[in-house]
Every structure is written in structure tokens, then in C-alpha cells.
Amino acid sequence: MIHRYQGVVVELVSRAVVPAIQVFALYIITHGHYSPGGGFQGGALLAASILLLRFTQGRKESYRRFPPGAGFALAALGLLIFLLVGLASVARGGSFLDYAYLPWPWASPETLRYYGILVVEAGIALTVWGTLVVVFDQVGTRTRDV
């Protein structure tokens, strides 16, 4: 399944499209406050860009850009960010995940909630991204090259 696709058009177009998908994914994640979007959707888009790399650039090149073990690390990091944000508000005397108590005393509670949502969405995106790529790698490398 993962081998370099022999076709210059597919290869060049995918090389151009992958960064565009990733930028759009960042827009989806960070613009979740104002429009439909957020961590889950943006993470799925980031994963889709990596899968496109896997399909078109071949194993060697795509593993150089996104090592197969990196998905686990990203997923765990995203979950860790979420949990740490929750615990940080506990540390200042608030409830778990009450972003108004984040350790940034000179900002108003609304602003803290605003940024708390943003950080949490970023964590969600990392988890979704890593998990989807991990699942694809496990399924996709099975059929060939055993």
C-alpha cells in the first residue's frame, strides 16, 4: 500500500496541496471561536495531509517527514496538554477545567477562558492528528512488505 506512486502529476500536485491542507487545518483550529471548526475537525485535516503524503510520496520520504512513532507522541502530548490545563486551574483554587483560574493573574476571567479554550482545542487537535495517523500506519503497512 505504501510505495511511491509512479506519476509526476500526482506527486507534484500532492506536494503543493499538503501544505495548503495543513495551513487550512490551522485556520480551522484557531478560528473555532468564530466559526464552525475546532480541534476535532482541524486534527482530522492534519491527519489527512499526512495520509496524502503516505499515499503519494512513498515510505521513505513520508516517514522522513512524519516518523511512524510520532503519532503516539503527538496523541499523548495533546492529551497531556488538556489534562495540564485542567490541573493548572485546580492549582490556583478553581474547579477542574475552570479556565478562569489559569495561572495568569493579570488577565480578566473572560480572556483566560478565551485562551483556555484555544489551548484545549490545540490539544484536542494534536490527539486526533496523532491517533488517526497511528491507526492508518498500523492498518496500511500490513498488506504489503511483510
Binding site: Y34, G39, L79, L83, E110, T111, T131
Partner: protein, 94 residues
């Protein structure tokens, strides 16, 4: 056997149709689901979180605990499926 299954399905259909008559209309402001916390979210989410998108405010702030659970579920499901699929492949480097 097939007739029995059809009969059970028919009874179930009658029950559901009977119950459907008591459901509130869609979007009814007097419905119990719209009376509890929804008005608070709709009125206060912008001033509480500076977030115009009500869905994001509810998902990540008011219902942040639920979203944390969802993230854990996704992570655990991915990890478990990867472990299952890795089984039997020996110690080879992925």
C-alpha cells in the same frame, strides 16, 4: 419466527408512535430541554468567554469535562487498535 419478529416490531412501532405525540415541538422554548441551562448559555457565553461561537464555548468550556472524556476515548481507541494490529508482527520496527 419471522412472524414473531414482525409482531414485536409492530408493537414497538405502536409504542413509539404513541409516545411521539407527547414530545415537545422542535425548537419549543417551553420544552424541558430548553428551560434548564440553555438560556444561560445563550445569554452569557459571549460575556463569559468572549467567544462568539456558542458551540465552541459549550464544547470546550461549559462542557469541558465531557470533551476531555471524548479526547481520552479517541486516544485509548487509537492506542488499543494499534496494539491489536501490532500483535503477531514480532518485534519488528514499524
Amino acid at each position: 419466527m419471522k412472524a414473531l419478529a414482525l409482531a414485536i416490531l409492530g408493537i414497538f412501532l405502536v409504542v413509539l408512535l404513541y409516545a411521539e405525540g407527547d414530545l415537545p415541538d422542535r425548537g419549543d422554548p417551553e420544552a424541558p430541554a430548553s428551560m434548564h441551562v440553555s438560556p444561560y448559555y445563550i445569554e452569557r457565553s459571549l460575556s463569559d468567554t468572549r467567544t462568539p461561537n456558542l458551540v465552541t464555548a459549550v464544547l470546550a468550556d461549559y462542557r469541558g469535562y465531557d470533551t476531555l472524556g471524548e479526547t481520552v476515548v479517541i486516544f485509548a481507541a487509537g492506542l488499543a487498535s494499534a496494539l491489536v494490529l501490532l500483535r503477531g508482527r514480532g518485534n519488528r520496527d514499524t
